[in-house]
Symmetry: C2
Subunit: 157 residues, 2 copies
């Protein structure tokens, strides 16, 4: 039996790669949240960010999501057409716009939260069976992986 468990960094990375792709694919599905309006991934992604951080400008969002201002502006335009977000002028800076969710936007935000809970819930039972040190390890691992990716990202510039 060649059961000596050869778990290479490579095999973990491969496994992660597959999972990340599947996750991405799942997340990319357009879905209806609350209102009967269908939201695409970039739209719900924006709503998520706006709902979690009040008083963001277009540039702020651009920085948080790590995409260009143009991309944010375009998606915001669609969200405004769907009456899910609005912009108000920053009182301290005329050229700056503060983005906020409308009532319908909050509806969608909350519906997405609930969807997320259902997703997370699938893990809950598994999680409850885990030692806390394993959970801590997982958290640490993800953090290290993220730092690693950030460093790779900076490298290419």
């Amino acid at each position: 039996m060649k059961q000596k468990q050869e778990v290479s960094p490579r095999s973990i990375v491969e496994s992660f790669k597959r999972v990340a792709r599947k996750w991405q694919k799942l997340e990319k599905q357009p879905r209806k949240f609350g209102t009967a309006i269908e939201l695409h991934s970039s739209e719900i992604h924006l709503i998520e960010e706006i709902g979690e951080n009040e008083g963001l400008s277009v540039t702020d969002i651009s920085g948080l999501l790590e995409v260009t201002k143009g991309a944010v502006s375009q998606t915001l335009k669609k969200l405004e057409a769907k009456k899910l977000t609005t912009k108000k002028e920053d009182p301290t800076n005329t050229s700056r716009a503060l983005v906020e969710l409308t009532a319908r936007g909050w509806e969608a935000f909350n519906a997405h939260e609930r969807w997320h809970e259902a997703m997370d819930g699938g893990f809950r039972s598994y999680f409850l069976g885990l030692d806390s040190d394993k959970i801590m390890f997982l958290k640490e691992f993800l953090k290290i992986f993220e730092t690693f990716l950030d460093s790779k990202d900076r490298l290419k510039e």
Copy 2:
């Protein structure tokens, strides 16, 4: 000190989500492999799959990558234009094409392997410091997560 370490499933999922997005973003960067030719993510992804599994048809690849045959056909067309892959007729089925890497294709494949090793290598030192049970746990976790995502994916159909 509120150090009681409240690690919720949600926070792990959030963390994973961020990491997955960053990974995806990094992977999406077009890069040069071996030859001076720039390869886009879908192209290198295909080369990876073809290099690892000999004798694949278009439909096979489509199944492995979980995209439509049309998508595979389109990307293969680009790869053929770049002289990285060729198709030969399946002797047992005229309507079937077997895809293979050219010499240049193998060059790109190997260069990508080396790139991958460099990526994985960033982990190696971290990995060597880990207990084997932690590594096993990580592998198990990824597997469970993948199964979970697969089930969610089937659900929406």
